[in-house]
Symmetry: C2
Subunit: 450 residues, 2 copies
């Protein structure tokens, strides 16, 4: 295929010494190159793609051109809107016992400080439970420093419970009367890179300035607290919440031999947080589904259409996924999402109706040669496909990626291209294509899952 030749030529340019001629390159190498070229281009030629920003819009246009060039049909951008956070100046400085600049980021939907910042004494809490336990109003005028103990795990399981410090901690601090809050970053690394992410102030709870400091900075504050030192902090977080900014979903199809059959939906999100360039979250996901869809069609056109959804505004509001479900009530067959980085698929979780047990077994059999076992847990889907799954009770397959490293990078300045392991990226493409080889060629009805 012409488009493959072009990508191989590009790949040869990117890999001095690789000397891969288009004519004799193994197909497996080629699809890796398509995925790599996608995420390298998106992160380098567009960069960060904050939800609601002009950069997110540029990302949609860039990816639309890329999908067209790769042979996708019906490529369309469907506009939507999102509540969003527009970053301002982020600065935190320990004032006493010793002056130290801290690596800080505002959380999405943080309240704003004045331009000159605020300065206040700090009250330390080792956990969200400890913060919840103090009386309402008891922290008047204070800055809360909220700690937690998240650890790295293959299934990323710490993000749920420990992530509550970010999602819920600022609102809880507000109810206690705090002037502001800084949390230990929700992450498992040890670099001077803070982790941003959205927080929530429910109706009736006044937003307060809310930031996250890097783990090394948090360690240093904890050391001082352990020494009995009183901490005083200066905090400047001037970003603002915008109630409605433009976002949008990008859709492209690889038509099946029978376009009347409900399509297979593959999703990722095209927006990113703004500190890094959104390589592992979620440029890699968009690269994987794009390359895998092409690989699945490379031998013979699949029976069913494979649809790629690159959603907007996942990070801040999940508005893209909701807009897609509303705009597309037409029947889908099955949905899958890639949004856990670029490390290897280690397990598959399948959710099918009982009538499709044989099809599920075929999917598991296709993954077995890749050493990917079928799990016995539940599927999670993801924010981009959650609404359409809920609306249509879709069958779902999760290809679980190894998330041990994911929360080292998640929502940090360090989410950049160099963090992607090309061999792992290729393994993802292989795994997705193996699944598509089964489900996109399934002639049987893929039933709703009650």
């Amino acid at each position: 295929m012409k488009r493959l030749t072009c990508n191989l030529a590009l790949a040869a340019l990117l890999l001095p010494g690789a000397a891969v001629a288009a004519s004799d390159a193994p197909a497996d190498v080629a699809w890796d190159f398509v995925a790599w070229d996608f995420v390298a281009g998106l992160t380098s030629e567009v960069g960060q793609r904050l939800a609601g920003s002009e950069a997110e819009a540029r990302g949609r246009v860039w990816a639309a051109e890329k999908l067209k060039a790769l042979g996708f049909k019906g490529v369309v951008i469907e506009p939507a809107s999102t509540r969003a956070y527009v970053r301002g100046t982020d600065m935190a400085k320990l004032v006493s016992p010793v002056p130290q600049l801290l690596a800080v980021t505002a959380l999405g939907f943080s309240g704003a400080t004045p331009e000159a910042g605020i300065e206040a004494d700090v009250v330390y809490f080792a956990s969200l439970a400890d913060l919840k336990a103090v009386p309402a109003g008891s922290l008047a005028g204070k800055i809360v420093f909220l700690d937690h103990a998240m650890k790295a795990a293959q299934d990323g399981g710490g993000y749920g419970p420990y992530g509550q410090a970010r999602r819920e901690g600022p609102a809880v601090a507000s109810t206690k009367g705090a002037a502001a809050i800084v949390i230990r970053s929700i992450g498992t690394d040890s670099h001077r890179n803070p982790h941003t992410g959205g927080t929530t102030f429910p109706a009736g709870i006044a937003p307060i300035p809310a930031g996250a400091i890097s783990n090394p900075d948090a360690d240093m504050l904890v050391w001082l607290v352990g020494k009995g030192k009183a901490l005083r902090l200066s905090l400047t977080l001037t970003g603002k919440t915008a109630e409605s900014l433009p976002t949008g979903n990008l859709i492209g199809d690889l038509p099946g031999r029978n376009p009347a059959l409900p399509p297979i939906l593959l999703a990722c999100h095209l927006d990113s947080w703004d500190l890094g360039t959104g390589a592992v979250d979620d440029g890699a996901g968009c690269a994987i589904i794009t390359a895998a869809a092409l690989k699945a069609q490379s031998g013979r056109q699949t029976l069913r259409t494979i649809r790629v959804l690159m959603a907007g505004a996942e990070e801040i509001s999940a508005a893209g996924g909701a807009a897609y479900a509303k705009a597309h009530p037409e029947r889908h067959a099955l949905a899958m999402e890639s949004d856990s980085g670029a490390d290897r698929v280690w397990r598959a979780e399948l959710k099918f109706a009982p009538a499709n047990a044989a099809l599920a077994d075929k999917v598991a059999a296709a993954l077995a040669p890749l050493g990917i076992p079928r799990g016995k847990g539940s599927v999670e889907g993801g924010a981009d496909i959650g609404p359409v799954i809920a609306a249509q009770k879709l069958a779902v397959i999760d290809l679980n990626q190894d998330m041990t490293r994911y929360f080292d990078l998640h929502h940090t300045p360090d989410d950049t291209l160099d963090k992607i392991d090309r061999a792992a990226l290729a393994q993802n493409v292989d795994a997705w294509a193996a699944v598509l080889g089964v489900v996109a060629n399934a002639a049987e009805d893929i039933a709703a899952v009650e």
Copy 2:
């Protein structure tokens, strides 16, 4: 010893679950605790210690109190002065082909941009040699982006040749007429943390704004250059050079049984760059020499005095080492310096006069049980002991640390306490104490090395 008991009690606090009682703790554990407590305290209770700053002065006072508490005698701060760099605002933004914020730091002695920054087209050079090859004046009004290809190595050997891009590149760019220069950070990591460090503008060459961007940012620019894109950069580096600021050396002795014998000099530097907290560069070195000196005296007082020199302003001017040599013409026996991080000692290089061949063999024999071989290369000494070595032709021992990771952290915001491996720190203390057990008890004359 009372001071040891105190440190063990502290250590027990720091290590929940360790449950080490002072009375039954093995001595090897204790000295590790002393080293760890030193570098943890210095980095947390003082933080960054930029040469010439009030923070460096606070560091001297903190460390002087620590040495006194640990039992050092004759603890004194000897004032000196240094040429220095006072950081301002550092900001770099790719303007075209796409807007992207870059992680940047000014280099020490950089020229200053106006407060509003400058904006110019970028000219890419893959190496310093390429930059040198263009005609004088040919880069008028341009911003140079200077790349290099430094790799990690056990002996840190890339820092010499590739570090020239930082040390010499800005002056070369100035002679070519460039308006400013940004270099790929002199480092081997892949994080959004730029590496600062000093540069030099020889007399007659006008300083120009000179910064370093992180490796992921440099990768992204290289990708765009490879795509044939024209780059345009906005650069704001407002820091200023100060011709004379106060610095100082901290000295403390553990007196020997025969104080008339020339002492053994152990050195580190107490200043640091300002982006991190100076844990591996060089808080760890000061921690190692302090703990090793105490360990060497813990069984029986050594024959010779062990002197600890914690030098000032090593990073920016090496003024501390020069001031020490000038102020201390009295005869020394031997000098050693720890300034390559906190990773394991893997080799020892010894420089003794031929008359001391037997003593050198005893040093090598003391290190053999620790698995540290004697090298066949030359010694390097270091900036803090270089002047006194030159003035007195001193014998020198280098305990080479594994520097594979060192230039991941060197001069970055990421040089923080968490990067120190406690087991490796303990191995350093053991190695230094083993050497001191020989040389600080040497009754024979330790001769000058011609």
